[in-house]
């Protein structure tokens, strides 16, 4: 079913909102402040309901099917977590209540701070950042504050070529100039290269663990030592934490501060682009710099600690995306410590199984052992005039969300697959079958792939047109 835009519907005077009657006198209003009122369409409740119901039917979510979007960790989002986030005790809570009036809300935050510290192996947690990128920014600011507390202002930062696009952007927001670190031909960093580039004007290094090829940086301890020796700090991008729970201790790796994407590893739904949450965990020596306020325990009660003179300040109007934190805590307590470790183990198993089954069909960028994701390319298919994009779009017709494509940049035509642990073997086998069939089609009938997808509401969209002649509103 097609569905017009909201303002192509409706009729003046309709209303879907249940408007209360005014039971107080009309107050005087300075006419010079009065606007004309926004030009919104007037709709009935059924108009609105059908509109969004239809829109939803054009979308593909985790509940629709497998979503092997590398580095995005599209695992199943438990329904029960939604119920807790919707508890009226929570949705009605004003963020400026006095601490003694909202001990339950504070305790949840405190407990989650502790839980995340335990899962990563770090010492302390702030829950304020609203997304992974804001977590990175927070971490980079902590770097700056740390150096400042030492009377330094360092200007550079080391960032591997496998880093997420947000890493350099976050660093540069804090005044650091990114210095690119090349990975070697096994897909990891050489300690020697770090040694060569690390100096006393370099604030530190940003490492993704495991990296965006799904590979663990085997020299990480050595690299951390080099960086620390020069007075630098090690940042951990925890977007790939789903490979690590209960298996990797980030503090032991030498990480000083790291962010977690709660909407990835900890199963909160992505909502078509958010809200996420980007908790940041740090070792004790960076604790003084974490955002203000933090929740602390004071005897038997909990309170917000504003008295943090070295804090980098506030990154959110209140305490971050609290509703997302609720879901995270619910997930952690539903899984328990052992469940979390098993989740990571099975996530790695699933990814390695796919890699083993598809390595004869698709070209593998690196032979190095990988964890929760694997990166193929279209190298075997280019000779038939078929690209990664064509194959991705064709997968849609088979009922799958495509993998992440053309990332990481160091693999030409990358196809980055992360199945997560919530996919069962039978479904993974079907996906492997579909991938093989697409590869066969690339040989037999390239045009089929060029014209994909065909079973969707719209065909391939003209992104150039969109950018060249922007139409950003109706």
């Amino acid at each position: 079913l097609d569905e017009p835009l909201l303002w192509e519907k409706g009729s003046k005077g309709r209303m879907a909102f249940s408007m209360p009657e005014n039971d107080v006198p009309a107050a005087e209003l300075d006419p010079s402040l009065l606007g004309a009122g926004p030009d919104f369409p007037d709709l009935s409740e059924v108009d609105v309901v059908r509109h969004y119901t239809r829109l939803s039917q054009w979308n593909f979510g985790v509940d629709t099917g497998m979503y092997p979007l590398g580095s995005c960790t599209m695992k199943y989002n438990p329904k029960i977590n939604e119920r807790f986030a919707a508890m009226p005790e929570i949705t009605s809570a004003h963020p400026m209540l006095e601490a003694e009036d909202c001990q339950g809300l504070l305790q949840l935050q405190y407990d989650l701070q502790e839980e995340l510290a335990r899962i990563t192996g770090m010492d302390a947690t702030t829950l304020q950042p609203a997304a992974g990128a804001q977590g990175e920014f927070t971490g980079m600011l902590a770097f700056a504050c740390f150096h400042k507390s030492n009377g330094e202002k360092r200007s550079k930062i080391l960032i591997p070529d496998t880093a997420h696009g947000t890493n350099p952007a976050s660093a540069s927001l804090c005044g650091f100039k990114p210095v690119s670190l090349k990975s070697n031909d096994t897909g990891v960093l050489d300690a020697a290269e770090v040694e060569r580039l690390m100096d006393e004007d370099t604030a530190g290094i940003m490492l993704t663990i495991p990296n965006t090829l799904g590979i663990f940086e085997r020299d990480i301890r050595k690299i951390a030592d080099i960086v620390h020796a020069k007075g630098g700090l090690v940042y951990g991008d925890g977007a790939n934490m789903n490979a690590s729970m209960g298996m990797i201790d980030y503090k032991r790796c030498g990480v000083d501060i790291m962010h977690l994407n709660l909407h990835k590893t900890f199963s909160t739904p992505h909502g078509g682009g958010g809200p996420g949450a980007g908790a940041v965990c740090a070792v004790n020596r960076l604790l003084p710099f974490l955002p203000r306020p933090m929740v602390i325990k004071d005897g038997e009660s909990y309170k917000l600690d504003f008295d943090r003179p070295q804090s980098l300040g506030r990154v959110h109007a209140f305490y971050g995306n609290y509703g997302v934190l609720v879901r995270t805590h619910s997930y952690i307590r539903s899984m328990g410590g052992n469940g979390l470790r098993l989740a990571s183990q099975l996530a790695v198993l699933n990814a390695n199984y796919i890699k083993a089954e598809l390595r004869d069909t698709f070209h593998l960028g690196y032979e190095t052992e990988t964890l929760h994701e694997c990166v193929f390319s279209d190298a075997n298919q280019v000779e038939y005039g078929v690209t990664t994009l064509d194959m991705a779009k064709r997968l849609i017709d088979y009922g799958y969300h495509p993998p992440t494509i053309y990332f990481p940049l160091i693999v030409h035509g990358a196809i980055m697959i992360e199945p997560t642990e919530t996919e069962c073997k039978a479904d993974i086998d079907l996906f492997i079958g579909a991938m093989k069939q697409v590869a066969q089609e690339a040989i037999d009938d390239a045009d089929l792939l060029h014209s994909a997808p065909v079973n969707t509401k719209v065909g391939r969209l003209d992104e150039t047109l969109a950018a060249r002649k922007p139409c950003l509103r109706g």
Binding site: L33, L43, N59, Y67, T166, R333, V458
Partner: protein
């Protein structure tokens, strides 16, 4: 384990294909010195039912809950949320989707966000709106950064002291590691921002005004715009209560160049401060300097209308460190919800509702004045207002908590010179009978105290 589908047999079969002996073996690439030691010290898994008990017990520890009338706004507002919003937004096709990188299977999200952008642009009277920022505070910080990109060499932003104190803190955080400077503009006796010092500021890139401001006072945005443009700075107009623009002149109409604020009022719970949604928009000519995702309209191979993420060249995955910002995940479904809320109200409804809020606050204010309270400011207000009582209000306020009322917010922590002043908020959720009951309670306790 209900979320983990693997049976023992399947694990064995898969390990065999992979060529590993055990699950642990899969991690052989992680050196021993990096390994996690022992079990994660988190209690064993709770069942769904234990978890329900756990949350119920936790939340029962709150002394203030949904039964209370909490007369505080200050950036987080109590508005009715139509039942259809959670009911539709919880549809898993919306909720469990990722950022729409693959537009062919994400037209629902994309059209929904395009509609959000459009309705928000109409609300704010501007040309282009992005697909959301984290919240009003970071939207303001990003607006300041945006103004520096546009104004090139100028390095100062002036912030009204009547901007939400937390928002100003966040701007300070965002700018602390840069060479940009913040100047604070004082509040005049009327409760509006005093712009008289503007002309004297060197390298002024932009001036940010919040309206209604932190004290609920409606700023003279038109006048501000003129004065700010007179000194050749960009006019950033900010808000924490989006509903005000159902009634008031839009910031765009008043000349704002960049408009930003918080959209929590539009169908989102207070949820102890988040998730809300940062709204941000600007004039067309500035759009390539705006951070954040944007959805645009285009055509498919058959000429059919469709929507995609666009203007990505501004973004970090293309420009990396040269990006307009590092924002990536935003508040997607909150923006969709805000869009849906605007659609639910419609043009007719938003005007009525905004008016209702205006009237409720005016009524509460006038009743409190009858008790002897003195308003801090006389300029028109929307939803919120600040005043002082002629008696020790803190004790009265504590007493009212026992009657399930949280009567306003003490301003002292935010403005040390406003000792004894309280900020009140009234929205459509406050019935006249509630107001009358609260006012008479205040009176009773005030008298008892004497």
């Amino acid at each position: 384990m209900r979320y983990l589908p693997h049976t023992e047999e399947e694990i064995q079969e898969m390990l065999e294909v992979v060529g590993k002996e055990s699950l642990d073996d899969l991690f052989s690439s992680v050196p021993a010195e990096c390994r996690y030691q022992g079990d994660i010290p988190i209690p064993a898994a709770l069942t769904e039912w234990q978890l329900k008990d756990h949350f119920a017990a936790l939340m029962s520890k709150n002394r203030v809950n949904q039964e209370h009338k909490v007369l505080i706004g200050a950036g987080s507002y109590d508005h009715y949320v139509p039942e259809i919003l959670p009911s539709l937004m919880s549809r898993s096709e919306f909720l469990t989707a990722y950022t729409p990188y693959q537009p062919e299977v994400a037209q629902g999200t994309l059209q929904g966000i395009f509609e959000y952008q459009t309705l928000t642009a109409r609300l704010l009277g501007t040309d282009a709106v992005n697909a959301s920022m984290y919240d009003g505070a970071s939207a303001l910080a990003e607006s300041a950064l945006m103004s520096f990109r546009i104004a090139r060499k100028k390095k100062t932003v002036a912030l009204s002291a009547a901007i939400h104190p937390h928002y100003r803190e966040v701007v300070a955080t965002y700018l602390q590691a840069t060479d940009f400077t913040i100047i604070e503009l004082p509040v005049d006796a009327e409760g509006r921002t005093d712009l008289s010092s503007l002309a004297g500021i060197e390298g002024l890139a932009s001036v940010a005004i919040q309206s209604p401001n932190f004290f609920g006072v409606v700023e003279d945005l038109q006048g501000c715009g003129e004065k700010i443009h007179d000194v050749d700075a960009l006019f950033i107009s900010c808000f924490s209560e989006a509903l005000a623009y159902g009634l008031l002149k839009s910031p765009g109409e008043c000349g704002a160049d960049i408009i930003c604020g918080e959209g929590q009022s539009f169908g989102l719970g207070r949820s102890y401060g988040g998730p809300g949604v940062g709204m941000m928009g600007c004039r067309d000519k500035l759009v390539r300097n705006m951070p954040g995702r944007i959805v645009g309209q285009t055509l498919d191979t058959k000429g059919k209308r469709g929507f995609v993420l666009t203007l990505a060249t501004r973004e970090q995955h293309i420009r990396r460190e040269k990006a307009t910002s590092n924002i990536c995940s935003n508040q997607g479904i909150c923006a969709m919800t805000a869009g849906m809320y605007m659609a639910t109200l419609g043009g007719t409804g938003i005007r009525q509702l905004a008016r209702l809020n205006y009237d409720k606050a005016a009524y509460l204010r006038s009743e409190l004045i009858k008790l002897g309270a003195k308003p801090l400011f006389d300029a028109p207000v929307f939803n919120e207002f600040a005043l002082r009582f002629p008696f020790d209000f803190e004790r009265v306020r504590e007493a009212l908590k026992e009657e399930s009322v949280v009567a306003g917010l003490s301003l002292e922590a935010y403005y040390p010179d406003l000792q004894g002043a309280y900020l009140f908020c009234a929205t459509e959720t406050l019935k006249k009978e509630d107001i009358d009951r609260i006012v008479s309670s205040i009176k009773k306790h005030a008298l008892q105290e004497v």
